[in-house]
Amino acid sequence: MNETSNTEKLLSVIMNLGKEMLMCGAEVNRVEDTISRLCDAYKLDNSEIFSITSLIIVTVKDNEGKRFVESRRINSYVFNFYRLEELNALSRTVCSTTPSAEDFQVMLDEIIKHSHFSKLMRLIGFVLTSGGFCLLFQGSFTDAVCAGLIAVVIFLIERLFTCLSINGMFFNFISSLFAGVGAYFFAGAIDSAHLDKIMIGNIMLLIPGLMLTNAIKDMMNGDTMAGFLRFCEALLTALAIALGFWCAMIVTGVLV
């Protein structure tokens, strides 16, 4: 009895780790690989792992031949590479030392607790990204400053949407809408500001680059389904950006 509950606990912790990794922005392939390595390290035989972008299912057999199945549903992503790195390091440590399920869970909780990132740094990140890419695509310094100001607004929208837990697609639409209206406003108010350059700087904030690279990597690793799901997400994000900008054109066209 004791043995079975231990397997169950272990499986549960491993699944928690997998879910966290997927939420932080890891490829499906990496998550499957990590789970399978962990199962091997704990000698959970015949582990069958299936994961797509929104679901992980694992079946393992303990040494008495009893089967355990667990699944995790992933509803939202919060890209957090700091946590991803820590989780990756944890899985390496666990594979070599194989602590008990309780210790493993404690270590996992510890990482989740301390791997938060300061909001100020993220705000700086938003401003630098839009300003930097505005300059990169031949914008002037004025454009970069305008793009930076709009980036602050987008950051605030993101904070608000995270609090209200509204889905990512709508966030992209609203952000793009605000970016568009803001860009029109600055381009109209300041002579030396260019609408297109400001807008490009802000689009780089929203562009689904990580999703697309992950999608292709998953597809290349033979995981066509997970890859396609992620690919569709990336396309829809781009569409949401386009629609948001279109609405901005209509809104400003009506107002001006």
Partner: protein, 149 residues
């Protein structure tokens, strides 16, 4: 020359910002800055020696891929952590914007042109990543077969 240097600095600033957005730990930022500068510098160099635009993107993407794989092995962190920021300056944000703008202004010819440019650039980037990914996989599998059991 001056505008190339400004370009590289802008690329580094933007990428570091993006890395902060993705909550990358601060110790990695200098590494990302250097790899981005080299990657974008290589792209500009290719353009300077009149390599076609798509070819330059492909070469830079290959370089970014190899650098990220190397860093991932050296620092023992997932490849994504290094690859996503490094490759970002090559991502055609401007093509996406001009496609949208031209399309909604009813300028379909121009929209199609920008859209095909967008597709080609993304294709070149992805091809570079896939290429590196496959090579590294081959090396890993080869090493695995060599390992005594």
């Amino acid at each position: 020359m001056i505008e190339n240097i400004v370009g590289i600095i802008a690329a580094v600033v933007g990428t570091v910002g993006f890395a902060l957005m993705l909550r990358l730990r601060k110790e990695r930022l200098p590494v990302i800055a250097v790899s981005t500068a080299l990657c974008y510098g290589l792209y500009l160099l290719c353009i300077h020696f009149s390599v076609a635009y798509i070819g330059a993107v492909f070469i830079a993407s290959l370089f970014a891929g190899f650098v990220s794989e190397f860093l991932a092995i050296y620092i023992k962190a997932p490849v994504t952590v290094f690859l996503t920021p490094t490759i970002l300056p090559l991502v055609p944000g401007s093509s996406l914007y001009y496609t949208i703008e031209a399309y909604f202004q009813g300028n379909l010819d121009s929209a199609l042109l920008h859209f095909s440019n967008l597709g080609k650039t993304i294709g070149a980037i992805l091809l570079g990543i896939v290429f590196v990914n496959t090579i590294m996989k081959c090396i890993r599998n080869y090493k695995a077969t060599k390992k005594p059991r």
